[in-house]
């Protein structure tokens, strides 16, 4: 996280284990800007070193209260209505960075063709946070256990990024470079994602959390398959929470490609995915446990996507 390098006031408040101070949940002051256009946001960020973008704030404000980050300025996206759009565009669908998790869940456009995105969002946080937290925040915070990256990557989504030199688009999986780190350069913002028109016939995201609500993923597995009768023509399998960034399980994908689907093939893919995953042990589960969860959840996700389509 970028936090350690910055402000000493943040460090002073650190108490307890691993910098997670719970004694003083005081929000330090900062300069606050509310630009009216994306270009103004970019210009402001370019001349305010260390400034952070705020959308929903459900991650950022928590980190600021815990003293993990202390940005001198926040640049709000609240006036950028274009980032609230969920809109068809040639070849797919644009989803704006400010779209909240509940807006993803309730959008007819998403529930129609991309139901697995709504399905993933419905497994996140709790109702209050889903009303505030945004797609862009879930991506740009780059938490390894984030729930939206795996399903979006499985569906072939691209990141839409605006910077001083204009807009660029690239595969979403290239956005993530490490825990809490992205390819976004200083002065760049994520304005949304595009999800291509699907050739896939089924997709789903399965998550294992320690509670039904308000729990981070111990393991998350997203799958998108293209079936031709009983044969898997193509599959994308993406694992969350078992590597520094969301990872494609390419060996597992190769395992199923061109073969007739049945439960034992799904199990074989699960074994391959478990072998290529790189989990760590932490408070939510040991590496060994996570690896076995990858096996089981990869198998289940494949079976579900093949059987039930986009869910």
């Amino acid at each position: 996280m970028a936090s350690g390098r910055r402000g000493s006031p943040a460090r002073r408040r650190r108490v307890g284990v691993k910098g997670r101070g719970f004694l003083f949940l005081y929000l330090p002051d900062f300069a606050y800007h509310v630009p009216g256009t994306p270009e103004e946001v970019v210009a402001l960020l370019a001349r305010s070193p260390g400034a952070r973008v705020i959308a929903g704030g459900t991650d950022l404000l928590v980190k600021m209260k815990q003293g993990l980050v202390a940005p001198p300025a926040l640049v709000s996206l609240k006036r950028l209505d274009g980032l609230k759009r969920i809109a068809p565009e040639p070849g797919g669908l644009f989803i704006g960075a400010r779209v909240t998790l509940n807006e993803l869940i309730n959008s007819d456009l998403i529930r129609g063709k991309y139901a697995s995105i709504a399905g993933a969002a419905a497994q996140m946080a709790n109702n209050q946070v889903r009303h505030t937290g945004t797609l862009g925040g879930n991506l740009a915070n780059a938490v390894p256990s984030a729930d939206l990256p795996p399903i979006l990557i499985a569906l072939g989504a691209r990141a839409v990024v605006l910077g001083p030199d204009g807009e660029r688009r690239f595969p979403l999986e290239e956005l993530f470079t490490g825990p809490g780190r992205t390819r976004l350069a200083e002065g760049e913002i994520l304005t949304g994602v595009t999800v291509p028109e699907q050739e896939t016939t089924g997709s789903t995201y399965l998550k294992f959390g320690l509670r039904r609500s308000g729990a981070l993923a111990v393991v998350g597995v997203a799958v998108a398959v293209t079936m031709e009768g009983p044969v898997v023509r193509q599959a994308r399998i993406v694992l969350g929470a078992v590597a520094p960034v969301p990872m494609r399980a390419r060996a597992a994908e190769e395992t199923v490609r061109g073969r007739e689907f049945d439960r034992s093939l799904a199990e074989e893919a699960g074994v391959a995915a478990a072998a290529e995953s790189r989990p760590i042990s932490d408070i939510r589960g040991s590496a060994e446990y996570r690896r076995d969860l990858v096996r089981v959840f990869t198998r289940r996700a494949l079976e579900r996507a093949v059987r039930d389509g986009h869910v």
Binding site: K78, V129, T132
Partner: protein, 161 residues
Amino acid sequence: MEDRQGRSRHLVTLVVNGDEYTLAVKANTLLVNVLRDMLDLTGTKRGCELGDCGSCTVLLDGRPVNSCLVLAVEADGHEVTTIEGVAQNDRLDRIQEAFIENAAIQCGYCTPGMILSAKALLTRNPHPTEAEVRQAIAGNLCRCTGYVNIVKAVLAAAENS
């Protein structure tokens, strides 16, 4: 605007329980602080401060949010309903009545947030299933009652609508 100590303040306009207020707040002032400390609406509780417990739940434009994770400046121009705005003309809301009738309150700390989450649910979905009720209040932690009577109360309020 800046004060003599160089601290910036921002003017925000909020409609709280139907009344419009314009207030000067610092950038780091949270919505929960405006409600409790500036408007004396202390029914909204502060709990975990991290968005886990739901005791600070209010309705922002009708949707339940954690007011400890909303900057007052970000809420500028929006409508807020707190627990104080749920009863109309001294008549308790049917959800409040149902909480009393079903003994869904013990210490009461989670109750304002629970009722606002329930209110939002019943406005959107007047006849929820038990599973839908449980999902709607999953962001509101209660450490006394075990939730059984709370779920019963919300279902009873739905029935009486």
